[in-house]
């Protein structure tokens, strides 16, 4: 029974292993087509270098060949990976395709490979060996899935910038994924060679690469079982067509193509999207005591952020200029100013996303400028983004788990060995993530995909993710945008409670009422310059601020009564703004020139819930 299907089963295993070499990079969001090149280099080197099976026995010969092949595949992927790792999407695909084609041409024109006529290799591989190899590879990717490393790769795939901001060293992770891919492709090349008896460079051409990619995508590139399902499907189609008595010829590839189209149309996530994936939310009582490596936070009053003459130019436009600012531990600093005032540019510089053009910035002892984003994150800076940058296809819990990257320990290698310490560490990370989710009130949507959450919930999820790294400085870029005023009030309570825990917070917000209520200090930016800085009371009374910002915002509020958050803010906190400032007359005193440059603050998103 099994013997009759041995060939088909072997090819399913081989196809799945090749598909895993694509899965290894697809899971990190890289589209590479170089795997056929790695596989052929590995296959030819192993076939040429490995001792003959007749001399040392089948299994030792195959194992030696595998070691050679995987080594060659990994080495080739490093050679290709180092110069191409900054390429993205289709550019990476073209570069890697070029590499594979170059390899094919070189092998075709080399003496030792036998050229187009190929190189004979003894058949050593049996169906059992093929499935053993597949099991090892599948096990590797299965254990990777729930590890810190695996989550980091998925985060990079979903949103590279956000992954960096969560402290993930994207370059290293991408290269690691690429090398894994090279080694797995090498394994495939060797196994293929030791099964088909004759390898020629044309066995590893563009069509082969596309075949591997299709198998991986068809199976699903987000779950470890994908390549096996994909390969089973792809290998069975010709078998089924034969069994169904469809005449050999063009009709078969046509039908196979059609079937592929149907599957991709109805299952865009691949065949694995049919498999439900439960997300386990740790119970609330687990909360007490985590094994996570906590950070040492600066003592209250220590300098957290020190900016001196900080400026940023974009082709002659001064987005930010000459900003001197100091934020001390325990402060809640609100950054306000009209749209285009340079607020986001300023926090992007503080969090390391954008290098400053002038001046210096020191954040938690790290000099910002050439320091990569993930290092600044590692120093204790965590942030949210003006436009949510969530890991859309991951569950809410997984989003927050990625946030905990910096404070959790790497677990992949220990998970491969089933060490109990890995389980402990994972549990601690899960508890941390669950606690952060509950803190922002999202405890009951842990299993929901981030993209399926409401806008307000997405904003809160971003805060939970930022909190999970136990930051010393939390930067929030317009966290209340898109929230209704009930949600905004709750957010403001959350910020107050975080501040009460001693967290230093810097946040940009258009909801001035909320800023005045929540902050210990407010900094006002206009045209890239600080025009005022002081306690909420001082700011609310500052005529410059009223002229530049509040006036315009108030005018907008008057024009659209439904969105009058400024009015609400002043009503709730009557001490914040003096009667002069709140009087509608002040609005009419705004200089026409200034008003013309001020855009209404985010009225659209404020209505959206």
């Amino acid at each position: 029974m099994l013997a009759e299907y041995a060939t088909t089963l072997t090819f399913i295993a081989l196809g799945a292993i090749f598909a895993y070499s694509f899965y290894a990079v697809l899971i990190a969001g890289q589209l590479s087509l170089g795997q056929a090149g790695f596989a052929s280099l590995a296959a030819f080197s192993a076939a040429a270098l490995a001792p003959s099976a007749a001399d040392i026995g089948d299994v030792p010969a195959l194992l030696t060949a595998i070691v050679i092949g995987m080594g060659v595949g990994a080495a080739a992927s490093i050679v290709l990976g180092l110069p191409t790792m900054h390429l993205r999407g289709v550019f990476l695909a073209i570069a890697t395709l070029g590499f594979a084609e170059a390899v094919r041409v070189v092998l075709l024109n080399s003496e030792w490979t036998g050229g187009a006529q190929g190189l004979g290799v003894p058949r050593v591989l049996t169906v059992g060996m093929a499935w053993t190899a597949l099991a090892v590879v599948a096990y590797w990717f299965w254990r990777m899935g729930g590890s810190r490393y695996g989550r980091a790769l998925e985060a990079i795939r979903e949103d590279e910038l956000a992954a960096r901001a969560m402290g993930i060293d994207v370059g290293r992770h991408r290269l690691a994924a690429f090398i894994t891919s090279g080694a797995v492709a090498g394994l495939y090349g060797v196994l293929f060679a030791y099964y088909v008896r004759l390898i020629a460079p044309s066995d590893f051409d563009f069509a082969a690469a596309v075949d591997g990619l299709v198998t991986a995508v068809l199976g699903g590139s987000t779950m470890f079982a994908g390549p096996i399902l994909g390969s089973g499907f792809q290998t069975m189609i010709p078998e089924l067509q034969r069994a169904a008595g469809i005449e050999a010829g063009w009709i078969r590839p046509f039908l196979a193509g059609l079937l592929l189209l149907v599957v991709i149309l109805f299952l865009p996530g691949g065949l694995t999207s049919l498999i439900p994936r439960p997300v386990r939310m740790p119970a609330a009582e687990d909360d007490a005591g985590t094994g996570l490596a906590g950070r040492r936070h600066p003592a209250a009053g220590d300098t957290v952020v020190a900016l001196a003459g900080l400026g940023k130019e974009y082709g002659g436009v001064h987005a930010v200029r000459g900003v001197d600012l100091e934020v001390r531990a325990g402060e809640v600093v609100g950054l306000i100013g009209p749209n285009g005032a340079g607020k986001t540019t300023l926090v992007n510089m503080i969090s390391g996303l954008v290098p400053p053009s002038q001046g210096t910035a020191t954040v938690l002892g790290t000099t910002v400028g050439r320091t990569p984003v993930h290092r600044i994150a590692a120093a204790g800076v965590s942030r949210t983004f003006q436009h949510s940058k969530l890991f859309d296809r991951l569950s809410a819990l997984d989003n927050v788990l990625v946030g905990a990257h910096l404070v959790s320990r790497p677990t992949f290698l220990r998970r491969l060995l089933w060490l109990p310490s890995a389980r402990r560490d994972e549990r601690a990370a899960h508890q941390q993530a669950a606690r952060c989710l509950r803190r922002v009130g999202l405890g009951d949507v842990a299993a929901t995909r981030a993209s399926a959450l409401s806008y307000g919930d997405q904003r809160r999820l971003e805060i939970a993710r930022a909190l999970a790294s136990d930051p010393s400085l939390l930067i929030l870029d317009e966290p209340a945008a898109g929230m209704n005023h009930v949600e905004a009030t709750r957010l403001s309570e959350l910020i107050t409670s975080l501040a009460a825990d001693g967290l230093t917070i810097l946040f940009i917000e258009h909801n001035v009422g909320m800023v005045l209520r929540t902050c210990t200090r407010v900094v006002v930016l206009n045209f890239g310059e600080v025009i005022a800085s002081g306690s909420p009371e001082q700011i609310a009374a500052d005529p410059l601020v009223i002229e530049a910002y509040l006036g315009a915002a108030d005018e907008d509020a008057a024009a659209d009564p439904g969105a009058g958050s400024i009015a609400e803010g002043t009503a709730v906190d009557p001490t914040a703004v003096g009667p002069d400032a709140a009087s509608p007359d002040a609005v009419l005193n705004v200089r026409p020139g200034a008003a013309g440059t001020l855009e209404p603050p985010d009225t659209t998103s404020r209505d959206a819930t």
Binding site: N109, A116, Q117, R123, R242, W250
Partner: protein, 392 residues
């Protein structure tokens, strides 16, 4: 929506198992039938009760599809004629290996398991090296109908072929051409990314050396190339007595046309790949004077060949090429071998194939030598008035 998808997948999965079980039953039935595979009488009077299961693995799609299609036509024509002849019923299953080693190996495995008495093919020599060992290990005879690379029949004593190797055809071509045109210096061109044309080149190289003809330069191209002007200009600069080209028909047509456009009027000598009526059909005038060494003399007036040309033209409304002729001959030889012992089981067929001698065929008087390779006259042709004629 989701549940519909689930149902579809479930139904498809169920279908897989049903179909798989069907095919496995069919398979075991085939091998049990071997008891009925011998009959009464000899030669034309031989009559076998059971159907003789034959498998053919051809490249009907993929890179080698154009040869596979010709072979399919040749086989089907032969099968049709044999069915009319009667006495023996053939159950010929033609399968497509998609020019993919994985499919080729799987198909050989299936034919072996399904009880085929003999496997015809595969189309490409590389595929033969990969798949033939499966049949050899299982004791199933294989008849290659287009494998021309050296060493195919060395795989084992069950592996036969009716296609002459390049080593058999090309030296003859070069010897004849040297004698005819007094060649002293030639330029060799070949596509180096194809196993067939590369081994053809090696044979040309050796033959030219044997004849003492100088190779002024060796130029390589890709089988996907269509523009040869740069290479041809380079060749022209060397002022050769002839161009020797090992390429497939897809390259032959533009290459010959462009050479004549550039004013290269020295003879162009091609190998098996050129032996295709499309050369004259598509290159027209330019094909005149092209010398083609081939295993099949399409202009041969032996009665088998004349009948074949006529039948093929009537059936497909096109002229056959060498692949079709060899495929047709292949099935005819199998019939001959079965009738000689009036037995169609694997062992009898293996023995009978090895004993084929002086069988009149489309390819001429045909024998199998002690290495299980084909022995029949090769031919050196030249294109004259839009037709292949024997170079004399």
């Amino acid at each position: 929506m989701r549940s519909t998808t689930l149902h579809t997948v479930a139904a498809a999965t169920a279908a897989v198992f049903v179909l798989a079980s069907c095919s496995s039953e069919g398979g075991s039935g085939g091998s049990e039938a071997s008891g009925e595979l011998s009959g009464e009488g000899t030669g034309d009077s031989c009559s076998i009760e059971g159907e003789v299961p034959l498998g053919a693995v051809l490249s009907l799609t993929g890179a080698a599809a154009s040869y596979g299609e010709s072979q399919q036509r040749g086989l089907e024509l032969a099968a049709k004629e044999l069915a009319e002849k009667g006495g023996i019923t053939y159950d010929l299953t033609i399968e497509d290996d998609q020019t993919d080693p994985k499919q080729g190996i799987t198909l050989f495995d299936q034919f072996v398991n399904d009880g085929a008495s003999l496997i015809i093919g595969p189309t490409l020599s590389n595929a033969a090296v990969q798949s033939d060992p499966i049949a050899q290990e299982a004791g199933v005879p294989v008849l290659g109908i287009s494998n021309t690379a050296a060493g195919i029949t060395d795989i084992g004593d069950y592996i036969f072929r009716n296609s002459l190797t390049e080593q058999a055809v090309i030296p003859q071509t070069i010897a004849k051409a040297t004698e005819e045109f007094g060649l002293e210096k030639v330029v060799v061109m070949y596509s180096n990314d194809d196993a067939f044309t590369e081994s053809g080149f090696e044979a040309f190289e050796a033959a030219l050396e044997d004849e003492g003809v100088e190779i002024a330069d060796t130029l390589t191209f890709s089988k996907a190339d269509t523009d040869f002007r740069a290479l041809l200009t380079e060749a022209q600069g060397l002022e050769p007595d002839a161009l020797v080209v090992s390429g497939l028909i897809e390259a032959a047509i533009p290459l010959v046309t462009q050479a004549r456009e550039l004013g290269i009027d020295v003879p162009i000598i091609g190998g098996n790949g050129f032996n295709n009526p499309r050369l004259m059909a598509d290159a027209g005038e330019a094909a005149e004077g092209v010398v083609v060494g081939a295993a099949w003399n399409s202009a041969s007036d032996n009665p088998e060949n004349q009948a074949f040309l006529e039948a093929y033209q009537a059936e497909y409304d096109a002229a056959p090429d060498q692949f079709a002729a060899q495929a047709y001959t292949g099935l005819m030889l199998i019939d001959e071998a079965i009738r000689s012992e009036c037995a169609a089981d694997r062992e009898s067929l293996k023995t009978a194939l090895g004993e084929l001698e002086d069988v009149p065929t489309v390819l001429g008087e045909f024998s199998i030598d002690e290495n299980r390779d084909a022995v029949h006259p090769a031919v050196v042709q030249v294109v004259q008035d839009g037709k292949f004629a024997v170079l004399e």
